[in-house]
């Protein structure tokens, strides 16, 4: 099936940059996965990802992020919504117009990006088309793996001014 190929392609590329890819059937299962990964720690959910089915599944120990940075700083587990997953690069496209969404994306130590299975696309050209059609002000990003730098003698360090670990959860 075409979409299976796309998902396989996405997974292969994402894993190459150190992203863990999980496939679940629905948001309820996503919640189970997140709870297991959080292992008792607080989960901070970006407003963009605050779907009631996910929240219901997460139960207690979850907080919806606000635009106050101090409250999101270095949240152990953060959850954001992604609009597209791009097989060509193993990236997801996130919409972060609101500061609250950005803070979870930027300041969590471990980040989970939730994307619908029907939104896995082939290439950057598809992402370009999507961006072209979305008019108006905003803040969008292609995110591929974790924050990193090799500025000191080309030695790679992951998790600089961003998450150390990035997971993509493909839902549906």
């Amino acid at each position: 099936m075409l979409s299976d190929d796309l998902l396989d392609g996405f997974r292969a590329r994402a894993e190459r940059v150190g992203t863990d890819v999980h496939v679940v059937e629905d948001l309820g299962q996503a919640a189970v996965l997140l709870r297991a990964q959080a292992d008792g720690r607080e989960v901070v959910v970006a407003p963009s990802a605050a779907d009631h089915r996910l929240l219901a599944g997460l139960g207690d120990g979850v907080r919806i992020a606000t635009g106050e940075p101090e409250r999101s700083a270095d949240a152990t587990v953060g959850v954001v919504r992604a609009e597209l997953a791009i097989a060509e690069t193993g990236s997801v496209l996130v919409v972060e117009d609101e500061l609250a969404d950005r803070l979870v994306s930027m300041l969590s130590l471990t980040l989970f990006q939730l994307v619908a299975a029907s939104c896995v696309v082939a290439s950057l050209d598809d992402a370009a088309g999507w961006l072209s059609r979305r008019a108006g002000a905003g803040y969008t990003a292609l995110v591929t793996g974790s924050s990193r730098t090799a500025d000191i003698e080309r030695s790679l360090t992951v998790g600089v001014q961003g998450p150390e670990a990035v997971h993509v959860v493909v839902v549906g």
């Binding site: 992402a127 002000a137 990003a141 995110v143 990193r148 730098t149 003698e153 360090t157 600089v160 001014q161």
Partner: protein, 732 residues
């Protein structure tokens, strides 16, 4: 101009005195090349297009933008303003800093956090802000460390590549007051996270550059890995973007083409961690996009330099550059480093700022091969050199020397004099001169033979029957000796002539030939170059093929003459006609004068490697032709030379004006030769022959360096001509 840089000569001397700089950069260049090539292969597979096709596409996009910067900017402005941005155009660097500091002052900003921005370096923003009471803190790790050290970036993408981890550990220990072990790079990097967090949270403004401005939406594209730029552009209530208009691209589709090429060329990644599109400010934020000229419209209007505005700041041109590896970015450039820095510095910072750095270019052409925007950097650097020679050279002695060199008779007389006075110092082909170590300590000079190639009997004597029937059997071929071969390495010329005769050609050596003008062209003195080029065109005019053992001259005649005569259509036409008939010896021996396989079979126990003249690979794209020629004619296995494409360091004028740089490039090349275990090094260019031969000798290496013509011709057996004189040596 307050760019805070020390004078160029100081930067150069400091760099040459620091072995860590060139050691670190050598490792960097090698590993960059491996990952870049892998990523480009991957891109070609992904898109079904070659790198050349893709970069041609990008160059086309940028060409259209540059041809109408005001139009595309107006489009961008309309969309950005609709998204809530303020777009302001400023002319000079000082207008830009004035606008930004007034804006900060007006909004009560006392702390500004910066994402990486080369334009902010270009305009000297930090110093100006500090002067007006705004603390500007770099947040990109490399830039932050450099700021703490009072230093400047030395590379477009890896700004702190010149720093060792021990130095950084010491810096952080001293600055932050807690110990940093030099091997715990992770801890050093993580210190940025804790130290800078508070700055992000309290800053009144955040400043970024832009990797692209997407006109169709009014978006600023930021290509990053670290995440600091995203924090800097999101948290503070004021976001300032400082950018040149040449960063415009019409659509997101165009932006993705740039994205596909940028990370692969810059860091050897398929894509960076973050590709962020910022369209307008967020709720509760102001955004000002400051679009700066600072010489860009002058570049756009100049047909020789407009294409340089297509630069996507990947740094690949620095990553393949041999002199850059030796001296690093502080000397190889001004604010902008690498080959692109040599081209744009005169426009952004004045010709004098670019004069020193451009002298380091060896014209090997490696940068043009990897540039993802298809910018003809080597040609542009020579244009800068010409401007420096014409406008800044007050001593004029170089020009006088080159004008004198244009006279064949004068050169003939001078070489005879040198041959006679140098006779006591002869040691085979080399001269054991007592001289300043700067010039002879690392490269033993050649002997000047008393009899130049042009006067030797074995050059023109029909000494044997042809070896085989070829496409040149019975054909007249004009042999162009080249000034260096003629006067300093006659066996190469004799070898070339004998090989052509072995293929059945009737070899004619026009008496009036001299120098093709390349040394003068390369040095930036185009008038003497034209004089010598005209004489060469006249000497070689006709219908016959012209063959030369000097790959550099063949390339000059085929590629550079057109440029030299661009204001003289008649000469340009004659030059083009000559270009159609010019061949370098190696390609001629693989083409029309193709002797059968095994025709020069003989000794097969020699351990041979081949150094191809850098431009043969990078400009003439000859591939491994010379290796194939030697292997098939002689039936021997040529040992592959690591970094075979990299220049030997001769670089024409460069090895005379900055010998220390030429020396280090030569060391790198000879180190690669060592790795092969070869005893014989063959090359297709006389400049390389003398440079490598002199270097091998001075370093005590027992390696024989030969032009491939001499090596192959030895296998024809000795010439029966007993006296070397055809004409009395006082003629021509």
């Amino acid at each position: 101009m307050s760019d805070g840089l020390r004078p160029w000569h100081e930067r150069l001397d400091g760099a040459l005195a620091d072995p860590d700089v060139r050691g670190g950069l050598l490792d960097f260049q090698r590993s960059w090349r491996t990952s870049r090539d892998e990523r480009i292969d991957e891109l070609e597979e992904l898109t079904g297009q070659t790198f050349d096709e893709l970069r041609s596409q990008l160059a086309g996009v940028k060409r259209d933008v540059i041809a109408d910067l005001p139009g595309h900017l107006a489009n961008f402005r309309r969309n950005a303003e609709e998204a809530g941005s303020t777009v302001v155009e400023v002319g000079t660097a000082s207008e830009a800093v004035a606008y930004i500091s007034e804006l900060c002052h007006d909004r009560g900003v006392s702390l500004l956090v910066k994402g990486k921005s080369m334009v902010s370096e270009e305009i000297g923003l930090n110093a100006h802000l500090e002067g007006s009471g705004v603390e500007a803190v770099e947040t990109d790790l490399g830039e932050w460390l450099l700021q703490l050290a009072g230093d400047h970036p030395s590379h477009l993408v890896m700004p702190a590549i010149h720093k060792r981890k021990e130095q950084i550990a010491q810096l952080l220990t001293a600055t932050l007051g807690r110990p940093f072990p030099p091997d715990d790079i992770d801890a050093m990097v993580k210190s940025a996270r804790t130290e800078l967090r508070e700055r992000f949270l309290t800053a009144g403004a955040g400043l970024s550059g832009a990797n692209a401005l997407v006109a169709e939406s009014g978006s600023v594209m930021l290509v990053t890995n670290e995440g600091n730029n995203r924090l800097a552009t999101s948290l503070p209530p004021l976001h300032i973007v400082v950018v040149g208009a040449e960063k415009l691209v019409p659509t997101f589709q165009d932006a993705m083409l740039q994205v596909r090429l940028l990370a692969r060329s810059a860091t050897g990644q398929s894509i960076t961690t973050y590709t962020t599109f910022v369209t307008g400010p967020r709720t509760g934020q102001e955004q000002h996009i400051v679009v700066i000229d600072n010489g860009r419209s002058t570049m756009a209007a100049d047909p020789d330099f407009a294409s340089a505005l297509g630069c996507i700041r990947c740094g690949a041109c620095a990553d393949v550059c041999p002199p850059y590896q030796v001296v690093g970015g502080h000397a190889f450039g001004h604010v902008y480093t690498g080959a692109i820095g040599l081209v744009n510095t005169p426009f952004h910072h004045g010709l004098e700022a670019g004069a020193g750095p451009q002298s380091l270019c060896v014209s090997c052409g490696a940068c043009a091969v990897v540039c993802p925007a298809e910018i003809p950097l080597p040609t542009q650097i020579l244009e800068v050199r010409r401007a420096v020679a014409e406008e800044l050279d007050t001593s004029r002695w170089k020009e006088l020397a080159l004008r004198a060199f244009a006279s064949r008779r004068l050169v003939g007389a001078a070489t005879r004099l040198l041959a006679v006075t140098g006779a006591p110092f002869r040691d085979g082909r080399l001269s054991r001169l007592p001289g300043p170590r700067r010039h002879v300590g690392w490269r033993t000079p050649p002997v000047v033979p008393l009899v130049p190639a042009r006067s030797r009997g074995d050059l023109t004597a029909r000494d044997r029957t042809p070896l085989a029937e070829t496409a040149v059997t019975g054909r007249r071929v004009l042999l162009f000796l080249q000034c260096v071969t003629d006067r300093l390495d006659p066996p190469t010329a004799v070898g070339a002539a004998r090989l052509l005769r072995a293929a059945g050609a009737e070899v004619v050596v026009p008496r009036s030939q001299h120098c093709c003008g390349l040394p003068a062209y390369d040095a930036g003195y185009w008038e003497p170059a034209r004089r010598m080029a005209r004489a060469t065109i006249e000497t070689l005019e006709g219908e016959d093929d012209v063959v030369t053992p000097a790959a550099s001259c063949a390339i000059a005649m085929v590629h550079d003459y057109e440029r030299l005569f661009r204001d003289e259509p008649v000469w340009q036409d004659r030059a083009r006609q000559l270009a159609d008939r010019v061949h370098d010896l190696v390609s001629y021996l693989q083409g029309p004068a193709r002797l059968p396989d095994g025709a020069l079979h003989g000794r097969s126990d020699e351990a041979v490697t081949v150094h191809r003249f850098c431009q043969s690979g990078n400009v003439a794209e000859s591939g491994d032709e010379m290796v194939r020629l030697v292997e098939r004619l002689c039936g021997i296995d040529v040992r592959p030379l690591p970094e075979g494409d990299v220049c030997c360091g001769f670089g024409g004028s460069t090895s005379l004006s900055v010998p220390e740089v030429a020396r280090h490039i030569l060391d790198r090349k000879l180190g690669c030769v060592d790795e092969t275990g070869a005893h014989v090094v063959l090359t297709d260019n006389p400049g390389c022959v003398l440079h490598l031969r002199g270097g091998a000798d001075a370093s005590g290496r027992h390696v024989e360096v030969l032009h491939v013509a001499e090596f192959l011709a030895r296998r024809l057996g000795p010439s029966p001509v007993s006296t070397p004189y055809a004409l009395p040596p006082t003629m021509c």
